[in-house]
Symmetry: C2
Subunit: 226 residues, 2 copies
């Protein structure tokens, strides 16, 4: 659910959950077009969704219109867990998305659910909590440059491909999404990306493609040992 989930989630366990869901819920696959919602805050939570392909963003709105992106969901991630039968965030497809719908009765305990799924969901939720704690460090403790650098490092680790001596990946989301994820403004995202480009740390072939030339330097900026 969070950009760093897969990297933090022990591989064998991730395969277990993936395998369980793939084997039991292949019939429940759906396609969502880019920009379309999976669900809205307050909707009855009928399903948990596992992202199979594409990227989603989940977010919450404040009464005065300010928005916080809670996570970007990449393949393997789950969205839509609820403790009270109602979704607590918005969720939209950023790109075209394929997902697997896991019906409520597979996990809410009222039916004799598969205990393996149950256990894996608890483990996934605990991992999700750990990922969210990392995000707290971003929002609460880091400067704008550290936030952007951390974000790029996380995406490079999760989705980057080695191309010659650069690590390249796509940014399917808009600048505004990145801004609302990191708690800064669009302008700050843009300025900081430009700064990193001018420092020779990244290349930006186009606004939605990033190539990291100096990963160690980017990591240093992300962790800023001062």
């Amino acid at each position: 659910m969070y950009v760093t989930s897969a990297s933090n989630f022990p591989l064998s366990e991730a395969l277990t959950l993936d395998g369980l869901l793939a084997s039991q819920f292949t019939n429940n696959e759906r396609l969502i077009k880019a920009g379309k919602p999976l669900f809205h805050e307050g909707d009855t939570a009928e399903y948990i969704y596992q992202i199979v392909e594409g990227v989603v963003r989940s977010s919450k709105l404040l009464a005065n219109g300010r928005r916080q992106i809670l996570s970007f969901g990449y393949p393997g991630d789950l969205v839509g867990m609820s403790h009270d039968g109602v979704y607590h965030s918005e969720c939209e497809a950023i790109s075209e998305v394929k997902l697997r719908a896991i019906p409520k009765n597979a996990y809410n305990g009222s039916l004799p659910a598969d205990p393996a799924i149950f256990g894996e969901l608890l483990r996934y939720a605990s991992n999700e909590i750990a990922n969210m704690q990392e995000h707290f460090m971003m929002l609460g403790c880091k400067t704008a440059t550290e936030k952007i650098a951390s974000f790029l490092v996380a995406l490079a680790e999760r989705t980057g491909q080695q191309v010659e001596n650069e690590i390249c990946f796509l940014l399917p989301m808009k600048r505004a999404d990145i801004a609302d994820f990191l708690g800064v403004t669009i302008e700050t995202v843009s300025r900081t990306m430009t700064k990193l480009r001018k420092a020779g740390i990244i290349n930006l072939p186009d606004p939605h493609s990033v190539c990291v030339c100096k990963l160690p330097a980017l990591r240093n900026l992300a962790e800023n040992q001062e």
Copy 2:
């Protein structure tokens, strides 16, 4: 685990979890003195702890010394969930704390655990995620005044006692803890509290006691509809 947990958690369910744990783990009660750690980040996660009395703070440190308080744990809350057998945060007692230790084999699925506990833990984790999402709104979207006001409203709702026509509660944590919880500085916490006091919205009989005189006004500041 988070200051607002109990208020968001449906009462009957909370009683279920509470009841389950109380009946099965009364023998595992421990006392921790104020200021002493329950566990450190990286320790082997042998137990989940349920707070019975007192308040704990769980936090994470960045390499450069900056700290983020993740949550304040009040009676009924759980701390120490882990997906990989290792704690991912620091946890210390703020006041003298009584807690109930729930051993790993009650919930990690390797033994035939009580499925009721299992289900309640998953529900608790899902609720915890929803609470953390609210905290993201604080850290990412709110101004200093909105943060302090939200924090005071949450504590008033969770631990406040009506005294004449004020709602009074204790702040067992230091200003520095509040600052690191909200992502502001100590000075900003102090100044903002003074501002609320001078505006006649709260009284501060001493630095660790708050009496809210005008709860609606405080709520307005917390939500700032602009």
